[in-house]
Symmetry: C2
Subunit: 204 residues, 2 copies
DNA sequence: GTAAAATGTTAGTAAGCACTTACAAACATA
DNA sequence: TATGTTTGTAAGTGCTTACTAACATTTTAC
């Protein structure tokens, strides 16, 4: 067990992340969060001026999905299908790691500020744009047919994000690792055939 | 404005649906719900034994997505691509109509009972199975290649559900009607080419 | 070892919450 | 008109909540 040394502040942030994602912002009490952190409630308020400030700090501390932008360059030399499999795999892993954060964002959409929402949006957008750029390149090189690359990226991540939502957030049919692998390959299969240039393409 | 005559009970249920979806179960107070319904708070408790009972009644009253099962048979004679466009359109319309319900389900996942969750799951499953059956038929008739039809159905709805989630629940880039039409056509385009039988299919 | 900084303990406050009681008013039905 | 049903008003109960104050204790830094 390689437990890292956590500061009081970090312990509180982690407990808050966990409890907010499990019970919602209003459902998790400051008393509970303090107990879960192993500190007194008053200590929580000495580190964070209010419960709302705590939420803000949680959301900015555990911010979302930087990893994916690095995956795409690193796989761009692979064959198309393999590259997509790696992208999908990386995407699902990242979602898994950040699931508490994502749960909060999806549950407490009415609470958090315009600023945070915009940050989340721009991150999503960045992800789409990054994949879209890769797809655009593949179109220019003649591998892929013509289509709206931004929408394609959105469709691609949409398939996987929906699977994640259903299995993690709504506890609907969740697969084991080998089945997830199967799912990835099938999904990528649809997308590859859906986007690749074929001999018999009839453009209108 | 063709306002229907609503019973007190119905007025409360509607207001509760609206407020629960906007502010969450804990965020919406019984006082507010009563005010929004135009009744006294005590009247709310004469119709519903508790706030929790009210939530249960809201969720069972505005239950989810029956429409889609009727769409698929009605379009099964259309060409493949047109059929999928109609299915996608119907799906998005239904999601739109039920968006308050869906918002609650996604926000309050920690609150509602095992029973309700199972009901929701079986509805989702039914939708997937219905489309999967249609796809299976198309495979047997030779129009489509071989693939896991359940996963294909899940991927198809996943693309659109993700778009719905992002635009309605997270207020990320939402398109107007004509742009949505464009999105549907592009998404369906990917899926059609991803699933159709091609002359030059190289199965391993 | 000593001062300072961080934490714990205990008690408390003010507000908001779901929910109740008692009684009066409005309304429909006969 | 009389009667039962539904609603409103008003007041209040008991509980929980976020948050604070005062003081004791522990941990850290030099």
């Amino acid at each position: 067990m390689s437990e890292v040394q956590h500061s009081t502040r970090e312990k509180i942030l982690e407990a808050a992340l966990r409890l907010f994602s499990q019970k919602g912002y209003l459902g998790a009490t400051t008393k509970e969060i303090a107990a879960e952190s192993g500190v007194a409630e008053v200590t929580l308020f000495r580190h964070f001026s209010s419960k709302e400030a705590l939420l803000e700090d949680v959301l900015t501390s555990y911010t979302y999905l930087p990893a994916l932008k690095e995956i795409i360059p690193s796989v761009s030399k692979l064959p198309y299908e393999e590259a997509l499999v790696e992208i999908a795999r990386g995407f699902l892993i990242t979602l898994d790691l950040r699931q508490d954060f994502i749960k909060i964002i999806h549950s407490e959409r009415h609470l958090y500020s315009e600023k945070l929402l915009k940050g989340y949006h721009s991150t999503i957008n960045e992800i789409f744009v990054t994949l879209a750029a890769y797809l655009s390149d593949m179109q220019k090189s003649g591998t892929l047919r013509e289509f709206d690359s931004f929408l394609a990226a959105r469709a691609f991540f949409g398939m996987f994000f929906s699977y994640f939502t259903q299995s993690h957030l709504l506890m609907f049919k969740k697969y084991g690792p080998s089945e997830t692998d199967h799912l990835i390959k099938e999904y990528v299969g649809f997308f590859v055939r859906g986007t690749i240039r074929e001999g018999l393409t009839n453009n209108d």
